[in-house]
Symmetry: D2
Subunit: 350 residues, 4 copies
């Protein structure tokens, strides 16, 4: 950490900064410059709380050199983490995963049709919402526990591992019971009570980036889960808020290589929420894999124009089947492959 003093800071002010740093248990190293003095804090273990120093007279700025997250950092854990989410399905290696399915679970028939369809087309895992965070209290809020039971049924039918969202601690326990990956949605990325709960539960977690979260914020939220002893965290870029209404969100694919440099955790992309526009899902899913993402998460609905939520961004089944073919070609072009559906042989007809 570097404490930059104001031009014109007095010797006493500089000494007081140094004294506070020492009092906090670190070493202070003043560094006079041509225009202003800076005081380095040596020994920072990433847990220094700067606010006390920011408040000292004569301090212009506090600059953080050390990353505030530790367990999520690749500097301290160079090997990439592999997260197994089902029999033979691992996220984070040379095979990219394709998680697909409807926005919401709507009925037994809908989720089974969807699951069989995406399985036949080549998906690796099934997504589907049982607890739905909706901006309006009057929108469809999901089937709840009934939805989880239907997802478990779809897993028995297709072998696909289940990825589904939890919105609070109680829901996280229910998802852990019926599903394979607990999703923490963008709106809850900084819901620390929920992060601690999924950390304690210990199942794989899919953590989505918040709409205004920096990558630093995202990794700090992952750190909350890791700090509870759960390393099975998959990150997910799903678009951030932008000034341009041309798309629902702005899918920040550069986050993929940035996260892979800073952290050992796998990162996938969700071009369905990331664009909010069906026609843009295919090109942006291809782009995500080309950028090096460890997978994609795609909304597919048997009949999008009858969907209870997000119909406008869900692919038709035949669009999804074509997309899987393209993703295989793109993955091949950069030396990777698409993970096969679990237990592919007996189920390949779908």
């Amino acid at each position: 950490m570097l404490v930059v003093m104001e031009h014109g800071a007095t010797t006493e002010q500089i000494e007081r900064v140094a004294a506070v740093i020492e009092e906090m248990g670190y070493q202070a190293r003043p560094m006079p410059g041509a225009q202003r003095t800076a005081v380095g804090l040596v020994g920072n273990d990433g847990r220094v709380d700067a606010s006390r120093i920011e408040a000292l007279p004569g301090v212009a700025e506090v600059i953080h050199v050390t990353q505030p997250y530790k367990q999520a950092s690749r500097e301290w854990h160079p090997e990439r983490t592999l997260v197994p989410i089902g029999p033979g399905v691992v996220v984070g290696g040379d095979q990219v995963v394709i998680i697909a399915g409807p926005c919401s679970v709507e009925s037994e028939q809908q989720i089974l049709t969807a699951a069989r369809g995406v399985r036949a087309a080549g998906a690796t895992a099934l997504r589907g919402g049982a607890f739905k965070p909706r901006s309006s209290p009057y929108s469809f809020q999901g089937l709840g526990v009934k939805g989880l039971e239907l997802l478990a049924l779809a897993r028995r039918e297709t072998g696909l591992p289940i990825v589904t969202e939890a919105m609070d601690e109680e829901g996280a326990h229910l998802v852990a019971e019926h599903g394979d990956v607990i999703q923490v949605g963008a709106r809850n990325m900084q819901n620390y009570s929920l992060l601690k709960a999924v950390g304690r539960i210990g199942k794989p977690v899919l953590l989505k980036r918040g709409m205004a979260a920096t990558i630093n914020d995202l990794l700090l939220s992952a750190e909350y889960i890791l700090a509870e002893g759960n390393e099975q965290v998959i990150l997910c870029e799903r678009g951030v808020r932008s000034f341009d209404p041309a798309a629902r969100n702005l899918l920040d694919l550069t986050a993929v290589p940035i996260v892979q440099k800073l952290s050992h955790l796998p990162i996938i992309a969700d071009p369905s929420h990331g664009t909010g526009l069906r026609e843009k899902v295919t090109p942006m899913a291809r782009a995500a894999i080309a950028a090096g993402a460890d997978g994609v998460m795609i909304e597919v609905h048997p009949t999008p124009d009858r969907a209870k939520s997000d119909g406008g961004q869900s692919l038709y089944p035949e669009q999804f089947a074509r997309l899987v073919m393209e993703l295989r070609a793109i993955a091949g072009a950069i030396g990777k492959s698409v993970a096969p559906s679990p237990g592919t042989a007996p189920l390949s007809i779908g």
Copy 2:
């Protein structure tokens, strides 16, 4: 709602849109234009889910004319809502409120000193965090229930109503027990489980705007609380994310008159988090009152350079005292006044 068809949409596509609208129980009103046809949806009660229509072939765009929130809307509830938060203290009328205190409750001595100080300077209510949402799991997380008990003690000592944050349903019940206003923080603005919980509890709620929340999003989150039967909601502008690192957040004071036009709920501003810089708190608190805010929420600490959190944005007690004087003058300039401290007479010495 207006469904804009693509230039070149076929008659069948237009008829299908109309049929779906009728099937949903509304009236469809096609409106052919020189360049493209639009189909109006008549009878919208604000609960139409557009995603199904967006997915129909030939649809270019769906434009929402009706506001998606109802109970929070001023169109349907023209009289402004008054929220009483303590004996004789009401938010939303001609008197602006000043909620002040430290970021976190740190100790009995700290919170009592702070409470007496802000009370003496003219504050209307006391703020102080017992449950702290911190970006890093390694930062001070608050004293929890012990902190709530100390806040209750400070209220007994000073008469100031207590505003403090809850981060989950369990915490909300604890805050309701010890405090007067349950704060929902910016990071939890779309934590719908928490919003429903504070809606059911029925105590006054201070709902902070999320870092990337539009005003529409903020009012929809308020709608979640109102939909549970709790109308005691105070909104709070506390800065949004911006591209400029010059301040921690970008305080959007225009939100004040915009919310007051769209909603009957009171809105205050938090220039401490809204700027993150002590020197900017005073001018921006003045600006908030000049813009018509129903109050301000200010971080004040007896000894900011020893604070366990947010020291750099906390005012020194004497700065706060000067600020209250200035706010009185500004309020007077626009025909308002600052609400007196509760039970001012016997406690005026502080």
Copy 3:
């Protein structure tokens, strides 16, 4: 400047950074830390180009400690700059200025009516566009030189100094000939050819902040003008791009105290473009003055619903007159006053 090395950077990499710094004519000061080494660059005169160092192997990040602008900086020029824009009218002192008038000059009658009206209500200077930067090539582009001549006529009639925009070097010379302050619009804030031209011309310049410009960018653009020997620069906050469509722009009033800390140049606010909504202009103009702005710039039109541009954000004359009264009260509340109209005595009837 501080060059932060990657954790695990080799001694050779650190030495190479130091060697390049020395080669560039500065001193290198390595600073080993517990987790990584940083190398300080001493002797930075604000003109160091970091890109060469960023490219060196082992470098994680380059952190700028010194401000990149010099002549615009208050550190090197503590006394605030006063910019005289007309007889007895100075921007930057204890009197706040009110620059008012229509978006565009439309006709002799329109501009004279407008000028007399704002003069009578208490304006200090007249605004009005002759060259209009419009997003669409099909929108009204202004009257050009004819508009400048009408502005000069309005000045003769009312004594109000003229503030009007130039869009290129040729236009800047024309504005300098007919007007008093050359406005550089938000879209041209980083049009360096234009900045150099207005720097050379030497007349007062009103430099508006670009829609995505940081305050650092704004001060660097001012530096372009100052570097040509022209210190007569007034900065103007006029709103930045935001994710919220509730207002046309997001007026960033915190920019006012931030600029006043960093720079000696005066700064005013334009709540008309900053909000784009007539009803929000009055509260935000009040807020700007309460935040300490050196003035406001307000669109006023004799008949806004007949305006050729920006009618929706222009005040009616009677609204403006009330606003001036409120601004006087607000200015008084913080120990300032509103500058009188030039030559007020003989013209006070309007």
Copy 4:
């Protein structure tokens, strides 16, 4: 265009809106709803100026249904525009182009080495700045006309067409004389004097998206050029401003399919400026091609750590050579190919 009236607007207010619409030469079509009335404007040719209507009493909002650009719109010009930029080099077809070279022209040796290197690796055109828009007046501003002459020399040596930036009308004429494509930079995207000038000159134009420009803004700026009779416009996504300091800009690759849906003009991506980080250029260039971009523009420098500008984001020649191989594989995966270097046969050894 749809004029949405306030809930509670009077019949007179609605009739006045209708009257103004008729007065402007269009048809008014009132459309009463359950909650509020809307008035449709029929006959809109995309040139309606809404500000006059926004200002009318009782108007809540004006919603634009028709696109404000015409000549740039794909609705009116469905065939995609092909822009030839050199012998046998066309932008916008099935072959993607790779424009590569240093940020700035620095010397004869540097530009010739760079040109030969990128030519040998497979580039289609040469980039290099002679006039450099720099945030700081103290940064290297380019070699000017001398730089243009060196670029022309490099073209004679390698056959590569030249893409280089102009910052004002005078510069545009010089670039037209020495180069093949006039680049308008992000900072000048709304410099309308420059847009009109390059429209009149009639040479191919590379128009970069501004840092806070919506796609609508970008297409309106293109419209300025087209309106002067020049259809040879190539658009370029180069990253927008974001709240996340993790990258210099946020490369918005979804802009590629969005622009291709809305406009017939080709669009390329610049991952060098779009990320500002050398290590991210390769994955994001791949992603751009996978998203369907018509080309990429890449900064490559013979010796990046000696570059006078943007060294940190320039590829080493061997990195660029590998990238070209990957781009060929990605283009193949989606049924495209990379355009060969002009006159490839005799020069293929480099």
